[in-house]
Symmetry: C2
């Protein structure tokens, strides 16, 4: 019922399921979906460790998947839902892909580029601007990250999300 | 002889060869190589049109290739040579990949994020900083782009590099 009143929560929960897949794969748990109308056209979760590729963030994977699904490089009319505020790379990708809207869950104090440190998707000097909605399912998105890093500290693993 | 005095020119010429491959494929002509010591460990040219993927910039392809070659997500000790100043997405990727140095040719007035509009690779708030050297083979790098857009205008094609 709550999701009917706030459709953003429904899609953020889909992004959270992606983040949980990252968690299970021992990746920093960030997930993303790209939605057009009432359909998910792209999904992604962080795969930096598995692919040994620092660019394999959830958002980039979801954006590339959405472009593939739709057969276009232009995601006008689409919204990106992501559990963590995008870093500069991913915020830049939202400009390049001309997404209408970015909805994120938790804020990223260390590298957030969609309001915290930078606001790249709304910079008037760039040739595209997106609406930004923040804090949707924030608590659950943040908790998943905190739980991941808590376990890593206990295990003595690599603690940083490179960003 | 000149290249012996200025090794950056030698590697920028390799990036220019990548840019020429983009030009021949009717892509906005930007090319990049990642160099470690005296070896190219990653190459890339813009493939946005062919892949219908707005994230398929030369720099991201070269960074991913270099990580694959070296079997690591960390490009410490490497230099990125790119014919055009990186956009926010690509500048963000240089931070994530922990490149030592970014050497670019032409400045990008519209989307440059390594000195012109932003200086993401040297932002003290992020967890990595790179040296930036600009203007290497600038004239040739810029000319190739100008020639591409001049032809596109004549042909009446899509004129913008999305960024």
């Amino acid at each position: 019922m709550d999701d009917l009143l706030n459709p953003h929560r429904k899609w953020m929960k889909a992004a959270l399921r992606e983040a949980e897949r990252a968690f299970e794969a021992d990746e920093v748990p960030v997930g993303a979906v790209v939605v057009r109308g009432n359909v998910i056209v792209g999904r992604g979760h962080n795969m930096v460790e598995r692919l040994e590729d620092p660019t394999a963030h959830a958002e980039l994977i979801a954006i590339t998947a959405a472009c593939s699904t739709m057969g276009t490089k232009n995601l006008t009319g689409c919204t990106l839902y992501v559990t963590l505020e995008p870093c500069p790379m991913c915020a830049g990708a939202t400009v390049l892909s001309r997404l209408d809207r970015i909805v994120f869950g938790a804020f990223d104090e260390k590298a957030g580029a969609a309001s915290t440190l930078f606001n790249i998707p709304q910079d008037p000097r760039l040739n595209h601007r997106a609406e930004i909605i923040s804090g949707i399912e924030e608590e659950r998105c943040a908790e998943l990250l905190q739980e991941f890093f808590r376990r890593k500290r206990t295990q003595g693993g690599d603690l940083t999300r490179d960003a």
